[in-house]
Symmetry: C2
Subunit: 239 residues, 2 copies
């Protein structure tokens, strides 16, 4: 199967064979053969197998758990950042059923920190709610959202989805643009428990500031998105 | 210092005080007072302090190390994703001195996987090089780059910075646009060693495909950017 006369390095040939296996018949999170088994099966050195695994990991085909071996990476939902997106709409496009579970819902008096971020006055009232977002009942992300109370009085249904439909239909307010900041983080105990994944799992923290046509912040949300479920892509143009 | 009559919840008032401390005189990675010390100092319950810490962590002011306490988050370089960017130019803009250390440089025969990604033929030659990127001598990211050999023959200086200047000046080729994919990951042993940080540190894996005006891939790079050093921001417009 490996051609020792080929100009393509052995680790690189082995890589193609394993990628073919992964793509043709392996499942997400399925364990790969061990380094030792691959050495034997393909008659290559341990060094070659290590290099193959390292390249496969870098290219995103496998993930390596220290002391446990290598596993097939799960397919990720590919979120396009070319324009404004909502979890609900994106999941529907994929034919998945988006649902939300409201974990907490409060109206609080904002402190300086939140006030500064939302460009409101300290002591202004804000809705604060935490939602678990699911796709086909699978836990995908956990979000904490702040919305200025004064702009959207009447708390009865603001915690129901989709938030932007409520903004539009009940308050005639449309999100014109948003700013997002992305930081890779490890899930803490609380997030891990809510998402039902391990503490310290790689995830993306996304802070979103959504604005209306008067440049008012109408939503400030911090999301923790599972790193095994999402990837984010963007097209960059020459300036 | 805390006003128990205020409408702002205690945890939220405490948050403002600690943020003021962090911003006025604390250093990156400096340890916060312990939960117990804060309880005593401000005469509040452990539950209140826990909630404050949780909010401070979510807002990105502190990070919590299990069993070791809370620490001040380091300032992050804010990378704007509105257009094409290069590490060299961005660091210069900040008044930092960008340098690169070439860890490995090879010309290899590509396998199917790389060929497919670069839209070239399998067995075509490609440059493959791994670089450590530094700013003011601090290790920031590690990058593995592939460049088609046929388009840029003559290996002598392609591993020197900045790559795009060489494309432009020697080969009259300009990067017209790029696609990037972002995934949060944990550093593996190799990356951690190169970046001189702990194994399993949160980091961002960025895959870049850079194109010339004929839609040819002229660069394919996988970067591992330290999560404690970078944040990425984007403006999203209504579609």
């Amino acid at each position: 199967m490996l051609d020792k006369e080929s100009k393509i390095p052995l680790y690189s040939q082995l890589m193609d064979i394993l990628i073919h296996d992964i793509e043709s018949h392996m499942q997400e999170d399925e364990k790969m053969l061990s380094e030792r088994e691959i050495c034997k099966k393909f008659d290559v050195s341990r060094t070659t197998v290590r290099q193959t695994f390292q390249e496969l990991e870098r290219e995103g085909y496998i993930y390596i758990k220290h002391g446990k071996g290598a596993f097939v990476t799960s397919n990720k939902f590919n979120q396009n950042l070319q324009g404004f997106y909502s979890f609900t709409d994106e999941m529907k496009k994929l034919g998945k059923e988006p649902t939300s579970k409201v974990i907490k819902f409060e109206i609080i008096t904002s402190n300086n920190d939140i006030a500064k971020k939302m460009k409101i006055e300290s002591e202004d009232l804000v809705y604060k709610f935490t939602r678990l977002r699911l796709a086909n009942k699978e836990k995908m992300m956990v979000e904490t959202t702040y919305v200025p109370y004064n702009m959207f009085p009447g708390k009865d249904d603001l915690n129901r989805n989709p938030l932007y439909d409520i903004f539009r239909d009940r308050f005639n307010t449309v999100v014109e643009y948003a700013e997002e900041v992305f930081i890779p983080v490890l899930t803490n105990e609380d997030e891990a428990e809510k998402l039902n994944i391990g503490v310290g799992s790689p995830s993306l923290k996304i802070s979103r500031y959504a604005y209306n046509s008067n440049d008012k912040v109408i939503e400030y949300t911090i999301s923790i998105a599972r790193g095994d479920k999402f990837k984010y892509n963007i097209k960059l143009l020459k300036k």
